[in-house]
């Protein structure tokens, strides 16, 4: 009788502990889901801002005059700067890509 009573108590405790564990897991997942959703919204906002900035920087009204007058130092400078600063890395990366 004591064994049966003990087993019943243990079973009840196990069920309760499992329930608590599942509940905790559920809450954790919900938190993660909320966090991911907010991150997603944040990324969408960031994407919108960067897209806006890209469009502003690439606006024809801003670039056309310089392009038409064949005055391209900005493009040339940034291109050469990238080559000097990232030249070896770019070469390695492109080499890896080529092997793949």
């Amino acid at each position: 009788m004591y064994f049966r009573f003990g087993a019943a108590v243990v079973l009840a405790v196990l069920v309760a502990v499992s329930g608590i564990a599942i509940e905790k897991r559920c809450l954790m997942l919900r938190r993660a889901l909320s966090r991911d959703r907010y991150r997603y919204e944040g990324l969408c906002d960031l994407y919108a801002r960067q897209r806006l900035q890209t469009q502003q920087l690439g606006a024809p009204a801003r670039l056309l005059e310089a392009l038409e007058s064949s005055d391209k130092p900005i493009i040339a400078r940034s291109h050469s700067a990238r080559e000097t600063s990232r030249g070896p890395q770019v070469a390695v990366e492109s080499g890896v890509d080529a092997r793949r």
Partner: protein, 614 residues
């Protein structure tokens, strides 16, 4: 261990028995008192139980629904989720208008105990006037904006103040941005600080761009802190649909740049330019000056809000003449090889005297247009009855809206025949007594360039989602095609007289090497409202041109209102700007040069038989 008595006033039964056996029977008065006390206690407990039961019934049965609703209301909070408006794009996908999230700061004035110090601190942090801010903080309101559209620096400075959390909040709002700056501002319109559309495509496409706001339910504790966000109550916002316009940003830049040059050189009252593909009616560029930057609409002059291409009318003058000739040719009232007597430069029609800038004798129909003879045109128009002339003008779309769909477009003025005077026929033949918008004018010339078939102008290509149901919401994208003029007459006019206008007429400044440019100048006196007569010093100068003449790809119209730089002729003021826009556009669209000579191919007398076979 003896059990404790339930009631300390009642003795234990055993004790009672012992007491009775040892001390004899209890006095009658004492036992009655005990019974009375017991009855009182039972009655009090019963009454309390009844009261509790009654209250429970009241709360859980009678007021159940109302209280449940009240509890839910206190616990839950429905938050509106704004929908981002759709983007406006040019035909190549460049963003003309888009929305980004911006934070706005509000406060709850009733929870601010020290308005003046708070106003001073907020004013310093956010660069606001503390006095005005203090007035708002002293109100009894539960909500007031402090500053909309905070920058990152603003937000950082504000957070550093450490105001009590219950007294303020930040709300996300969508703010409209125009990455191309002032480019095409009149076409796009703008959205105010509350997101309401004001003018342009923003207003006319509001139903498509707007989207549908969503909502989210939040559960809060007694202190107002959010404790749960149930997913099942979420209605996500539906973003507005993005719309692709017919505009090309590059061509728009060409047009606006030329307008700026015209403004600098001729200091006009206003100026506008239009670039259109005549075969499809697609507006490639539409610009107006003065203009404004939709990103900074504060302090813009009233003149700058008007889109002169659609919301301003003028008497077109000579650019109107080809339509009258087209009508006369179509009805057989004049032959292309016919010569018209131009009366030596002056003639009287009814009570009005008509002049030409130079005295001409006999001119061919083509030369009447090339030399822009008013007398010759009045003679050609006179061969049409008033009804026929009206029908001809109306068939080119004058006197009614083009259907472009931009708010503020006006229909112009074309009076019914019964209101015409004895010289209205002659006046209309030279582009007077009719008020047109620049958009109507370029649409009508597109019909000539398109072989007499008029396609309604359009500014909208499609929505980005591309579904047919979505496009059904875009009536502006639906073209209307009609027959405006005889095909042969239209082709002859464009490739013949209008080509010669550029080669040897009034528009020689628009001749582009390599391209067979056609065009027509217009120099119209403005009506002086004070005297009721035509002004001697106020003109509207215009020029319309297109190329290639055999198969026009682009036509351009530039209209200059009251130039004041010394000249007022359309061929001098407007033609160079229109030609430059045309040149750049043809090169940008990679239209192959089609004319290497740049000279008239044959004499005017020979051309009709070649171009026009009736």
């Amino acid at each position: 261990m003896a059990a404790e008595p339930l009631d300390p006033l009642l003795p234990e039964p055993a004790e009672e028995a012992n007491a009775e056996s040892t001390a004899g029977p209890r006095p009658r008065g004492q036992s009655a008192q005990i019974r009375r006390r017991r009855g009182v206690i039972v009655a009090v407990i019963s009454l309390c139980s009844l009261a509790v039961a009654a209250r429970l019934i009241q709360l859980q049965v009678i007021q159940s629904a109302r209280l449940a609703e009240r509890g839910t209301r206190q616990k839950s909070y429905v938050e509106a989720l704004p929908a981002p408006p759709g983007d406006l794009l040019d035909r190549n996908g460049r963003v003309l208008a888009t929305s980004v999230v911006s934070r706005s700061l509000f406060v709850v004035p009733e929870k601010i105990s020290d308005p003046w110090p708070s106003a001073q601190r907020l004013g310093r942090a956010l660069h606001l006037d503390p006095d005005r801010l203090c007035d708002r903080l002293q109100s009894e309101k539960k909500f007031t904006w402090v500053k909309r559209r905070l920058t990152a620096e603003d937000e950082q400075a504000f957070r550093a103040l450490g105001l009590p959390a219950a007294a303020w909040g930040l709300r996300d709002e969508y703010v409209r941005r125009y990455p191309q700056g002032a480019l095409a501002a009149h076409i796009l319109g703008l959205r105010d600080v509350d997101g309401n559309s004001r003018g342009g495509l923003e207003q006319s496409l509001e139903a498509v761009l707007r989207g549908c706001p969503g909502r989210r339910t939040l559960y809060r504790d007694a202190r107002g802190r959010v404790i749960d966000v149930p997913d099942d109550t979420d209605i996500p916002p539906r973003p507005g649909r993005s719309v692709v316009t017919t505009l090309d940003s590059i061509i728009q830049v060409y047009a606006e740049r030329e307008l700026d040059r015209v403004v600098a050189e001729w200091r006009p009252h206003g100026v506008c330019a239009l670039v259109e593909d005549p075969s499809t009616g697609e507006i490639l560029a539409m610009a107006s000056r003065p203009a404004f930057d939709p990103n900074r609409p504060e302090g813009v002059s009233e003149d700058a809000w008007m889109n002169r291409a659609i919301a301003w009318t003028y008497e077109p003058g000579s650019t109107f003449k080809p339509f009258v000739v087209a009508g006369a040719l179509e009805r057989g009232r004049v032959r292309p090889d016919e010569e018209i007597d131009c009366a030596g430069g002056e003639t009287r029609l009814a009570s009005r005297v008509f002049h030409d800038t130079h005295p001409y004798g006999l001119l061919s129909v083509a030369d009447v247009l090339v030399k822009s003879s008013n007398i010759g045109m009045s003679r050609i128009g006179g061969r049409l009855s008033n009804g026929e002339l009206f029908a001809t003008i109306a068939s080119f779309g004058f006197g009614r809206s083009t259907g472009l769909g931009l708010p503020g477009e006006i229909a112009g003025t074309l009076r019914p025949v019964k209101q015409w005077s004895s010289y209205s026929n002659a006046s209309l033949s030279i582009g007077q007594e009719v008020a047109v918008t620049p958009l109507q004018m370029i649409t009508a010339h597109s019909a000539l360039a398109n072989g007499g078939t008029m396609t309604s102008p359009k500014l909208v290509l499609r929505t980005l989602d591309g579904s047919s149901s979505a496009d059904a919401d875009l009536p502006l994208a639906t073209p209307v095609v009609s027959r405006a003029a005889d095909r042969e007459a239209a082709r002859w006019l464009v490739a013949g007289p209008m080509r010669d206008v550029v080669l040897r007429g009034t528009g020689t400044r628009a001749n582009l090497p390599g391209y067979s440019v056609f065009g027509k100048t217009g120099t119209a006196q403005k009506l002086d409202t004070a005297t009721g007569a035509y002004s001697a010093d106020k003109y509207v100068s215009s020029f319309l041109c297109g190329a290639p003449a055999a198969n026009p790809r682009v036509i351009v119209l530039v209209v200059v209102d009251e130039p004041s730089g010394g000249s007022h002729f359309g061929g001098t003021v407007a033609a160079p700007a229109a030609a430059e826009i045309l040149r750049q556009t043809l090169a940008y669209l990679k239209v192959a040069p089609d004319d290497s000579s740049g000279q008239p191919h044959e004499t005017t007398a020979q051309r009709p038989a070649t171009y026009f076979k009736r």
